[in-house]
C-alpha cells in the first residue's frame, strides 16, 4: 500500500511543501495505522459498554424497588451534568491510583491501563444517555402488548427480555444512532490520558514533523468517514428491523 502512494506524496512534499508524512514515511504510517486501529477498538468497546449499561439501567428503572430506581436516576443526573473530561481524569487518576497493581516481575502495572479506564469512563458517561434513550423506548411499547404477554404466562423478567426490549430497541434506534455517533466523537477525549488513539498518534506526528494543518485534514477526514460508516450501519439496522404497522 505504502509503496504505491509514497512517491506521489513525496513529490507533493518536495514540490508543494504539503507534508502528509504518514503516506511516505514508514514510521509515521505505522503510527497512523496503529492510531486508527486503536480508535476503532476503543470506540467499539465504549459503545458496547454503554449499550449494556443502557439496557441494565432501563431494566432497573422499571423495577419495583424504589431504592434501585433512585440510584439509577442519580447516576444519570451525575454523569449527564458533569464535564466528561473531569470524569475521565477522576477515573484514571483518582480511582486508578487506588486500584490494585500486578507484579510484572520487577515493576508494577495497574490492572486497568489507560485504555481500560478510557473505556470505563466514557462508557459510563455514554451509558447515562443510553438509559434515558432505552427508557423512552420502553415507555413507547404499548401497554396491551405487555398485558397480552402476561396473559400468556410470561414472568416480569421474560416480558422485559422477550417482549419489551426487542420492541423498545426498534423504537429508540434513531435516538441511539445520535448517541453512538456522539460517543464515537467523545472517544477522542482519551487523548488526555495518553491512549494512543488517532488524535494522540497524529498529535505525535505533527509535533515531530511540524505538519499540523495536513494532520488536521487527516483527522477531520477520519472522523467524518467514521461517522458516515456508523450512520450507514445504523440506518441499515433500522431498515432491517423495521416493524410492519409502525412508522411509514
Amino acid at each position: 500500500m505504502l509503496e504505491i502512494i509514497a512517491p506521489f506524496f513525496e513529490r507533493l512534499n518536495e514540490t508543494a511543501g504539503i507534508n502528509f508524512s504518514p503516506f511516505h514515511d514508514p514510521y509515521d504510517w505505522s503510527r497512523f495505522v496503529e492510531g486508527m486501529w486503536i480508535s476503532v477498538k476503543l470506540i467499539s468497546a465504549i459503545i458496547a459498554l454503554s449499550l449494556v449499561i443502557g439496557v441494565l439501567g432501563a431494566g432497573a428503572q422499571t423495577s419495583k424497588s424504589r431504592l434501585l430506581r433512585i440510584v439509577v436516576a442519580a447516576y444519570i443526573e451525575v454523569f449527564r451534568n458533569t464535564p466528561p473530561i473531569v470524569q475521565l481524569l477522576f477515573f484514571y487518576f483518582g480511582l486508578g491510583a487506588i486500584t490494585p497493581q500486578v507484579d510484572m516481575g520487577g515493576w508494577y502495572e495497574p490492572i486497568i491501563g489507560a485504555f481500560g479506564w478510557a473505556v470505563i469512563a466514557i462508557g459510563i458517561f455514554g451509558g447515562a444517555y443510553n438509559v434515558e434513550i432505552f427508557r423512552s423506548g420502553v415507555e413507547a411499547v404499548p401497554h396491551h402488548t405487555k398485558e397480552a404477554a402476561e396473559a400468556l404466562g410470561f414472568s416480569d423478567l421474560k416480558i422485559f427480555i422477550y417482549i419489551t426490549l426487542p420492541l423498545a430497541f426498534r423504537f429508540c434506534l434513531p435516538a441511539l444512532t445520535n448517541n453512538i455517533i456522539s460517543l464515537a466523537k467523545t472517544s477522542s477525549l482519551a487523548y488526555v490520558i495518553a491512549v494512543p488513539e488517532i488524535t494522540y498518534s497524529l498529535a505525535n506526528i505533527w509535533s515531530d514533523s511540524l505538519n499540523v494543518s495536513e494532520m488536521m485534514v487527516l483527522l477531520f477526514v477520519f472522523y467524518i468517514l467514521l461517522v458516515a460508516v456508523i450512520a450507514q450501519i445504523m440506518s441499515f439496522l433500522e431498515r432491517k428491523l423495521a416493524l410492519k404497522g409502525y412508522g411509514q
Binding site: 424504589r66 473530561i85 481524569l89
Partner: protein, 269 residues
Amino acid sequence: MMSYSVARLTWRAPAIVGGLCIAATLATTFTAEAQDAGSGQMSAFAALVTWMPFILKGFLLNLLMSVLAMALATVTGLFLGFMQISPSAFIRLPAKFVTHLFRNSPWLVILFAIMLLVPFQVTLPGGEKVLIPDWVKATIGFALPVMANIAEILRGAIASIPSGQWESAESLAFTRGQTLRHIILPQCVRRMLPPWMNWYALLTLMTPMAAILGVSEALGNTQAAMEAAGSRPEFLIPFYLFLMTIFFVFIYPLSIYTRRLERRFSAGA
C-alpha cells in the same frame, strides 16, 4: 403509581448527590488524614479549602467562555441555518458542508485546529499587532461545533412547521421573507428554546477541555493547585470530586428547567 423517573426527582436528586459527594470527599480526606497524622503534612481537606478560591476563579473563566461562545454560536448558527434553507444551491451547499464538517468532528479536534492553526497574533490594517489570548481562541473553538448544531436546530424547527402554513401565507400573497419573518419564525422560537439550552449546558461541560491547551480555567487551576499543594495521590479524588460538584451545581438547575420547558412546549404543540 409513583414512578421515579428522572423527570420526577427534580430537586431531591441533587441534594442526595451533593450529600454523597461531600460524604465521599470527607471519607477520603479523613482516611488520608488518619494515615499521615503527625507527619506534619497538610491534609487533603485543608489543601482543598486553601485552594478553593483559586479553583473557583478558574470556574469564572469557564462561565465567561461558555457565555461568549454561546453568543457567538447563536449568531453564526442562525446565519448558517438561514443559508441552509436558501432556495439557491450556491448558498445552500456550502452551508451544508460547513454544518456537516463541524457537526461530525470531535470537540477536541476542532479545538486543536483552532488553537494550532490560528496565529497567536494578528496584524491590524493599521500596522499594529494584537495578541490573541488563548482563552479567546478556545472560545472560538467551542463556538464552532455549537454553531453547526444551532444551524441544524433552526433547520429542523422550520421543517417541523406544517407546510399548510407556507401555502396559506402564499395564498395571502406574502413574499418568502415576509412568510418567514411573520409566520414561520415566531412559531420556531419556542421549539428551538429547549435544544438551545441543552447545547448551552453541553458547551459548558466541554469548556474544561481548554485546560489541555494551557488555558487556566477550572480544570487547569485544579491541576495546578494539586501540584502546588505537594501533588500527593490522596488529593486526586477530593479535588476532582469538588470540580465535578461545582459543574453539577451550575448545570443541574439548567437541565431541570430545560426539561420542564420541553414538556410544556410538547404538551402545547
